[in-house]
Symmetry: C2
Subunit: 128 residues, 2 copies
DNA sequence: TTGACACGACACCAAATGGTATCCTATACT
DNA sequence: AGTATAGGATACCATTTGGTGTCGTGTCAA
């Protein structure tokens, strides 16, 4: 019911590479970045970074916008919802395996959160 | 502060393969399974499934227990927490990108949730 | 218009991935 | 004892992955 772009690549795969996760992080911080601003963050050539970007685009995680001679890359987090859904399915087993971790969480109820983010999170949980 | 096993393999990588995700699902359903119970679910030989299992073990997602001549495999979801944490970092951007989706969620406040699962989820969110 | 820059498009390559088939040992069945 | 089953170990193979370098084209600046 919305953009969807192309999604020719598995999101799980796209996110499996540390370089690509770093690209995601950089784009999240900077909103929009051309290739030549991304490249200096990595120990590899421009072409390699470009290839990683292509994979992220194929997974729908990055969209591009041409501005003059540069191509600005923007993050689109929507495909991560698939990962989120997958994970939330296993969160019901979570509690069984990690009861002792639950104890730790109990002592940090620092008000906060419980806002929209928390609600959306809980919502994706009770689909299963 | 707990098991931790070995973790010689990246969890993101382990989970990137559809066959390995299917193994995870099967183990989640059945609690404990030997290789020969897993193999018939896939269109590949025993050795291939065994290799996937090895990768899951290297990522700490599966532990083994020898019983007679078979090796029972059990799921350990703890390493998925890393994925969960990574994802929750980006959930704050979520709202910016998907405000219209928030509308849809708004109409399904069917009580429920808001229990421990919801709290743990919100908790992992406010770490950032 | 001349040159520098951004970057897509290839061609190329070593290493990793995802399968296979085969061999071997340990365990269980009769 | 002899046979069948479970599965680890290894060798092997095609394809994919993740890099590289180079070329060509469009854009900006002098």
């Amino acid at each position: 019911m919305m953009s969807a772009v192309a999604q020719t690549r598995d999101v799980y795969y796209a996110v499996a590479d540390p370089t690509r996760r770093e690209i995601i992080r950089l784009l999240a911080d900077a909103d929009e970045l051309p290739l030549n601003r991304l490249t200096p963050h990595f120990a590899m050539g421009r072409t390699a970074v470009s290839k990683h970007l292509t994979i992220l685009k194929e997974a729908g995680l990055v969209s591009e916008r041409k501005v003059g001679r540069e191509t600005r890359n923007r993050l689109n987090l929507e495909p991560l919802k698939e990962l989120q859904d997958w994970l939330s399915y296993y969160e019901k087993f979570w509690k069984q395996n990690m009861v002792r971790l639950d104890q730790l969480l109990k002592e940090e109820q620092e008000s906060e959160a419980q806002n929209t983010a928390g609600r959306a999170c809980a919502d994706s949980l009770n689909k299963y």
